[in-house]
């Protein structure tokens, strides 16, 4: 355990920050291509958070949210989750479908598939960026969208990392489209071995 880098390590954090900035730029390009209009993503603020604090950051474990989840296999296994409180998910849908603000009031299949695409693009661009920088191979899975309680959505990560005290990497960013802006948080949960490998290959 002692020789493994921890999230708290400054070097690990700075490596992941650099990767995140690059990845978000690429993701914005991908989005703009998808919707045919210029969409930008602000420079992400990167920080580490103990896993147990995530539910509270999102309004409590019973709060309702939309979660978009991807896993990546290959050289560096990691999990990627974009989790949005209901209102934020509505705002993003308003923005993507160019609806007036406040028009989206529920997440039907059209909205869910748009959100899946948002998570998919950001997730895969993030992974591609890591792959390009480190030369490691990453294989992302298709995205899964869940609309449920925050606690239930996060159980996926809890169950796969098995950890109650692990930290996660949080990228706080905002999508900007025309004059609109929606803030969103991404959670990236690399396996312990992944952390080490990425830092070593940077």
């Amino acid at each position: 355990m002692v020789d493994q880098p921890h999230f708290e390590d400054e070097k690990a954090l700075s490596v992941w920050s650099a990767l995140a900035v690059e990845a978000m730029k690429k993701a914005a390009e991908g989005f703009s291509g998808m919707i045919g209009q210029q969409l930008s993503i602000t420079q992400p603020e990167v920080k580490m958070l103990p896993f147990t604090e995530i539910p509270n950051a999102l309004g409590g474990p019973e709060a309702e949210a939309a979660g978009i989840y991807l896993r990546c296999d290959g050289d560096i296994p990691a999990q990627f989750m974009l989790i949005l409180p209901y209102e934020k998910a509505f705002e993003i849908c308003d923005m993507l479908f160019e609806r007036p603000i406040g028009e989206t009031e529920q997440l039907g299949s059209l909205e869910r598939s748009a959100l899946a695409e948002v998570g998919n693009l950001t997730g895969t661009f993030f992974m591609n960026s890591i792959a390009a920088t480190t030369g490691l191979k990453l294989l992302p899975t298709p995205p899964a969208v869940m609309v449920d309680m925050v606690g239930a959505i996060l159980d996926i990560i809890v169950a796969t990392t098995g950890g109650v005290s692990d930290s996660v990497l949080v990228l706080k960013t905002a999508f900007q489209f025309n004059d609109r802006e929606v803030k969103a948080d991404f959670w990236v949960i690399p396996d312990q071995k992944t952390l080490k490998k990425v830092v070593a290959n940077f």
């Binding site: 147990t52 989840y69 298709p142 899964a144 449920d148 309680m149 239930a152 959505i153 159980d155």
Partner: protein
């Protein structure tokens, strides 16, 4: 509204104060297992996370078998009589519907199966359960009457 005691990931809590409500919020693949002695009014709940303990891991109530045993011990230590204990369980959902991901992540089902095996081994009869599906649940156990309820997103609290 009573005094809410949150039962977080891997936690086991027991109460005999009639004002208390033991609550496990937003269970996905996790299990909320409640025990209650209707005579001494001792109530307890464990929020179990994983089906089994792998080697190298530190024993904790977050593993189903240890969780159930810990809860049973704590119940008895607080004045419950084993033969009277009513046991109920909810959770164990499969949150991922995506085919390729589902197969590797059926932890909810594995949690529920593990719990059933432990109950059988300990000769504990499960009075009620609501497990599986692909929906998150909040489970609540009221210490005063031993009422246990389940609530899902957009739904009303109902008795288990």
């Amino acid at each position: 509204m009573g005094n809410v005691i949150s039962v977080g990931l891997g936690e086991c809590k027991v109460s005999r104060s009639p004002d208390d409500e033991l609550v496990a919020y937003g269970l996905g693949s996790c299990l909320g297992i409640g025990m209650y002695d209707p005579v001494t009014h001792v109530a307890g709940m464990v929020h179990a996370v994983l089906p089994e303990l792998n080697h190298n891991e530190v024993p904790s109530p977050k593993y189903v078998e240890i969780g159930i045993n810990t809860l049973l011990d704590e119940m008895v230590r607080n004045g419950a009589v084993r033969s009277r204990i009513i046991t109920r369980m909810a959770g164990g959902a499969n949150m991922l519907l995506n085919g390729s991901l589902t197969q590797s992540f059926n932890i909810g089902e594995r949690n529920a199966t593990a719990a059933h095996q432990v109950f059988q081994k300990l000769n504990i009869r499960l009075s009620a359960e609501e497990v599986g599906g692909n929906i998150g649940r909040t489970v609540r156990l009221y210490v005063s009457q031993g009422r246990m309820t389940v609530r899902v997103v957009g739904g009303k609290e109902h008795d288990l």
